[in-house]
Symmetry: C2
Subunit: 575 residues, 2 copies
């Protein structure tokens, strides 16, 4: 059975299952969500209004046996940034959507009635139902209730209270194989889902399988590909300590944003490091290695238990730990883990919310280091939607505006992640020029800037950074279309067999003859489609810059500023 | 003595009194503030950061005997809109600054120390002092304290708690001749003053006088000018009922935005009308006619007493009464007057704050019509800076973002004033294209759309609206440079002697030979200077449009939408 476009119209509560238009056939993941948003969403529309659409697409290889191919792309116009947005996550949804024959699920319109709905997708049906029980509930309650309702293996995409309140930092949570949550975290896509009054989406593939044109070639290529991943030392490190292995590395490099981006090193780094976390997990009988989707050979996720050896949180990432740790000066990993659990439950981006807390600390709302204060605000304010809760839940930019703070680390209103752009200058290029607001995953120059992957580019020098960021942003856009986890990039950059094997898998799956040049062209084309949307939405070169303070306040310990001119930045788009 | 530029640097706490650069010599008021902001402020800077400047300039005729010439222009990059901003107000400051020989007061930089300062300006001195007593106090306490400190006649510009908190709706309040307050209300200029830690500014002109090159010609021209003002029927109506005479007129026209811009007529219009207000004022021994600055021949201000015949508020304007009245469905004039008094005291824009309350009502924070609820939020939340208070105090756009509301009547994040753009289409053009965000005073097409002044242009038809708005925006930019109150426009549009007399006064004051064409060219030049700033700050044609709902939701009773395309709107700038 050929893949289909599944379309839900929430205005008249109808659904259709449509043939895939010819010009979308070669696209998947981010390439497809951005193409559909570009084609069907009016760029100047209100992100929470009837003209915005939520587009959900598995990658080109999702649902196959390809290693690490279980990422799902979700796109829309972002309520946080006002730009086009693609946010991808693991979990089971990408694979089950692909197996259900879903090329993309497009949700449009706004319902007239004041109630919550759910969407159920199977290979041959698409159903909208009123949902009277789960409105107001957190994500874990949603998962638990749905488990009790159906014994079928199903993927779940859900929003918590943050999405219901249409907070600009609300995420969409996706169930992983063991009932934990992964997040399409950035850009407030949960608010778009909430605006359409959809509490959750289930996917049941039945016995659907993804068609492979040339199975033998596919299997052979996957073997080469998986070996390249497993052989790379960084990927191995990720498996041992999780993404949080980066705390000590980035701290050592002087680029770990600390105390609301005023310092590049955190005194408490050891207490929150991946190494410490690993020891705690082992000591408390947690799970140090865990996969967020079937077929992952890296297993950077983990399950972190509390002191009583009960599960506290899962998928406990470097970004979340850095943001609530170093950036808020909290050196208590249990406080951070508890905050992570609450944020997963209410469905809110851990980066945006934690950076917002850092700005709130600067504003004097609470003290730096006050982990318990953070927990209280999350529980008493954000979850309940008080005024303060809504400010925090609207992101760091909103906190800055409400409290008149000027040191607000955002680009296009989205919080800058865990690499200070003054000390890791390539990341500054990525943050400023990305079509999606500040986002490390859009062009992860930490590779050559710090990790020595794909070459070495001095993080403190201007030289080579624009080229580095451009190459990585183009490659990332292509990778994000395959359903591949971005962590394949380490092997892809260092192992010459890796990317050709990935291209071989694409060719074997669809019986086509892509070359590496085609892949680069795809990445360029995606970036240009996204940029065209942003330009039509009103973005200009003036938005492709960092906040003033990065240019004027020197960051210890290197005492460096970000020193690219706007003119230099504009050359990013010369391709 | 030639006029000077008075410059305050808050970073190093120094002041200078400088000669006026040649290319600024012919400018005053808005023409000068926008030129200085355009020349000296980096368009991409943070509005509350050290690179923004607050520029205060009397008009070209301020300080003379010219009728109605007491308006003061204040400019900066706006924290509310991100655009260039000029907000003008009455009070005594324009005239006293002019008499002190101040062409413009420029305040730049940010102090390092955490304390409040005051600025004192005299013809030959400019002093920065630490202010230990008045931090945290409301505007009325500032005026009272300053009266007790000095017996000299002095102008006062001050910020209340809103400006101290750097709320994006904070205004700068200016003392009128009788110790009431007038406001540079729009665009959050009080937050810019607050960011520079200036609590108040005093101006003492000593026996300074404004030089007039040709006094006889000046006096003769002023006589013609003042007669034109007094003879016009609209100006006379403003004297009798204040600006609030418009409630019944605009309600009758079906363009009185009601219940957060969902209807064009308000059932309770009679209760809040200018006619009712006049009767109440007379009955309570208030003052129905009052001038906001010396030399005003219109006297549209008034003093409104409470039921015990004690002064409740002054300068009680149509915009404030419409916004808290019709837009929030409050039909109790005493509640609105009490809210007006509180907003004057804490120094916050009545339009922005009231429209924000309307959006909060739509969000369910309080009920439509709940005047007491509004008072409680103003006193308990905005004044004290709670989370909710900061959201409301950051304006209607902020409320919309925090609560996920899509019916948010703002352009460039500034609230749309008291004429629904669907039923008064010329105003829609002005709101959308204005260089300053939605602002009725930028191009007041209500003249020809509703009042039959300067011709008649059907408010419900598209025909002629762009031309009308363009002509008025150009003329307004020029008028805003003279120090003239915008209410001279009625006579200027209908009485052929009025504008030539104004030009005669300019020529007699400076011994120059301006023509009417020169005045139009000045207006055009100011708009282009302002637009160039905005473009460099990142604004595009995509920002020159109204929110989606004006295009899709029909407004009763005429059941009309706003139907200009973005392409049509862009033709506004064809000059």
């Amino acid at each position: 059975m050929a893949d289909k476009i599944f379309r839900v119209n929430m205005t008249d509560l109808t659904t259709t299952i449509e043939d895939v238009p010819e010009n979308w056939a070669g696209l998947g993941g981010r390439g497809l969500t951005s193409t559909i948003v570009g084609a069907e969403v009016v760029p100047t529309c209100h992100p929470l209004g009837e003209k915005n659409k939520l587009v959900i697409a598995p990658g080109l290889l999702s649902g196959t046996i390809a290693a690490n191919s279980g990422r799902l792309s979700i796109g829309a116009k972002s309520p946080l940034t006002g730009t086009i947005k693609e946010s991808n996550a693991g979990g089971t949804a990408a694979q089950l959507l692909a197996r259900a024959g879903c090329k993309a699920l497009i949700i449009e319109g706004l319902p007239k009635k004041e109630c919550w709905y759910s969407i159920a997708l199977t290979p041959d049906s698409l159903t909208i139902s009123e949902e009277s029980e789960l409105g107001g509930k957190g994500n874990f309650a949603v998962l638990k209730t749905l488990e009790s309702r159906s014994e079928a293996r199903q993927a779940v995409l859900t929003i918590g209270q943050a999405g219901e309140m249409k907070l600009a930092s609300a995420n969409i949570s996706i169930k992983d194989p063991d009932g934990n949550l992964r997040s399409s975290g950035r850009g407030g896509l949960g608010a778009v889902m909430g605006s359409k009054k959809i509490k959750f989406i289930t996917v049941e593939p039945g016995d659907g399988k993804v068609a492979i044109a040339n199975p033998d070639k596919f299997t052979a290529a996957n073997r080469v590909f998986a070996k390249a991943l497993m052989d790379h030392p960084i990927t191995a490190g990720l498996g041992q300590f999780g993404t949080n292995v980066l705390v000590n590395i980035v701290n050592e490099a002087g680029g770990l944003p600390t105390r609301n981006f005023t310092e590049g090193q955190f005194d408490g780094h050891e207490a929150i490091s991946g190494e410490t976390m690993h020891d705690i997990i082992v000591e408390r009988d947690g799970t140090p290695k865990h996969n967020c989707h079937a077929g992952c050979v890296i297993q950077c996720s983990q399950i972190y238990n509390d002191a009583d050896k009960k599960k506290l949180t899962a998928g406990f990432e470097y970004e979340s730990i850095w943001a609530m740790g170093a950036d808020c000066c909290v050196d208590n990993l249990d406080h951070i883990a508890e905050a992570d659990r609450i944020m997963d439950d209410i469905g809110i981006d851990t980066i945006e919310t934690s950076v917002a807390m850092g700005v709130a600390m600067e504003a004097g709302v609470l003290e730096f280091g006050d982990g318990e204060g953070i927990l209280k605000i999350l529980q008493e304010d954000v979850t309940k939607g008080t005024g303060l809760g809504r400010i925090i839940g609207s992101g760091a930019g909103a906190v800055g505006r409400a409290y008149g703070v000027t040191r607000v680390p955002v680009v296009k209103n989205q919080s800058i992640p865990a690499y200070d752009p003054r000390a890791v200058k390539g990341m500054g290029i990525t943050y400023a020029t990305s079509t999606q607001g500040a986002d490390h995953t859009m062009g992860y120059t930490v590779t050559a800037n710090i990790l020595g992957v794909g070459g070495n580019v001095d993080p403190l020098s201007k030289e080579g950074q624009i080229q580095l960021s451009r190459d990585l942003q183009i490659a990332t856009a292509a990778i994000d279309s395959t359903g591949m986890c971005l962590f394949i990039a380490f092997a892809a950059l260092d192992d010459e067999k890796c990317l050709p094997a990935l291209v071989d898998m694409l060719n074997a799956r669809f019986d086509i003859a892509l070359t590496m040049d085609d892949v680069v062209a795809l990445g360029q084309s995606i970036l240009k489609t996204e940029r065209a949307f942003n330009i039509a939405a009103g973005f200009t070169a003036a938005d492709d810059r960092l906040p003033d303070f990065f240019y004027t306040e020197a960051l210890p310990p290197h005492n460096v500023v970000f020193d690219f001119t706007d003119e230099e930045m504009a050359t990013f788009w010369d391709f």
